[in-house]
Assembly symmetry: C2
Homo-oligomer: 252 residues x 2
């Protein structure tokens, strides 16, 4: 459980945080604090952003239109998160929400929707996904919020691939190393790519493996749903190449 001394309410803010700094709260934040949590001025809360870490703060004003809080004391310094992207074919609403929510909990730095040949979802509601990412980050004790990028096609993703980042492609067919093995050897920036329910087209897999930054990896002998594969791959990577040795803060 969380230490009794700390407020449970935890909000991500864009503004700088520092001792004695006033921070404006947005209308949706004010609505949540007032309407859902029933907080009033004077209540404690925690504020965080990736540059300044996590701060204990006190609610100063709260109206329907917004509010403000005063940062009092730093609880956690900023800490770099593992440099891991999750690239995934969009799936239907509940499943894509799960990918974003659980991808945030499992520490992805970037969530990149990718359209592939067999992707049968045509539109992605980025506003909804970004709101899910913020909510999940606030709940899971992260110090940052994953960047939910605009969707791209697979060809464009590969054409613009940054130098020095490996791409671990979760492949159900063809030769592949176990993800655990590839992750244990990985060093530096990485990305996972998970296809849609129908998998990658053979031509897509052929094109993928021609890139020197691509590593085909396997997730075991069972066929995983797309959202399961994304969550499982993140968990395995973090446990072996990421911050899986860390422990949750503020636990007693």
């Amino acid at each position: 459980m969380t230490s009794d001394a700390l407020p449970r309410t935890r909000l991500h803010v864009d503004a700088p945080l520092g001792e004695g700094r006033a921070v404006a709260l947005s209308e949706p934040q004010a609505h949540h604090l007032r309407g859902v949590l029933r907080l009033a001025p004077g209540a404690g809360l925690r504020l965080f952003n990736p540059r300044d870490g996590e701060w204990l703060a006190r609610l100063e004003t709260l109206t329907k239109a917004g509010g403000s809080a005063l940062a009092e004391r730093r609880l956690r310094p900023p800490a770099p998160a593992p440099d891991l992207w999750l690239c995934f074919a969009p799936v239907k609403k509940d499943a894509i929400d799960a990918v974003v929510e659980k991808g945030t909990e499992l520490g992805a730095a970037v969530l990149q929707p990718v359209f592939t040949r067999f992707t049968d979802v045509q539109r992605v509601n980025l506003d909804r996904l970004r709101a899910h990412a913020v909510a999940a980050a606030e709940q899971c004790e992260r110090l940052d919020v994953p960047e939910v990028r605009d969707p791209v096609g697979l060809d464009a993703l590969l054409a613009g691939w940054p130098a020095g980042r490996i791409l671990l492609v979760c492949a159900e067919a063809g030769a592949a190393r176990p993800l655990a093995e590839a992750a244990a050897e990985a060093a530096g920036p990485a990305a996972l790519l998970v296809g849609p329910e129908g998998g990658f087209a053979p031509a897509e897999l052929d094109a993928l493996i021609r890139h020197e930054f691509v590593r085909p990896v396997g997730l075991g002998p069972r066929i995983l749903r797309a959202d399961t594969a994304a969550i499982a791959a993140l968990a395995v990577w973090q446990s072996l190449a990421g911050d899986g040795r860390g422990r949750p803060p503020h636990r007693v």
Copy 2:
């Protein structure tokens, strides 16, 4: 993708499978084949059970009340699955459905609901969960279906714990080894235990770690939702101590 030669329809049956053996199909199976998949006698399908493996079969009769299929040829021999139990505090409907569905995909042999101090779900619909487990097993190419056990209290679970099986307790608080480290060293029967959203009570954690078969393990620095923790823990265990090196069958 699945090899073109193989029917996509895959059903778990209790009956023995063997060359030329007729297998009765249940009313729900007949309903699914007729009403959802629009199959007719003569259609190919795959049947499996953990004792006889997976068989190519042909639909012989199909009515509203049931049907029958004739097993023709064995596609895969039976293969032992990793001996891994997932013990988990029941969570609300969507999340517990996800635990069962994805727990099946990730190869849990037993799914054991466990009531703990902070579990705020009082009832578990076992019929629904068992149906989800069968459907997920049929979809993910497993040769067996995980056993969804009747819920028990944590005390009863520990009191009746079988000799020789380790229990990896996912603990957010207190001393714990990284799960990846504990899994890499594990040999023999194992179980994972994941608590409810509120975590374990301190007294529960104290009681747990007094048992010699208990190993407290951590899943990294973020607080995971209960369903995320269950899925992540299974993925990590399978990748290091289970069948994570295996590849899906029938892929070209």
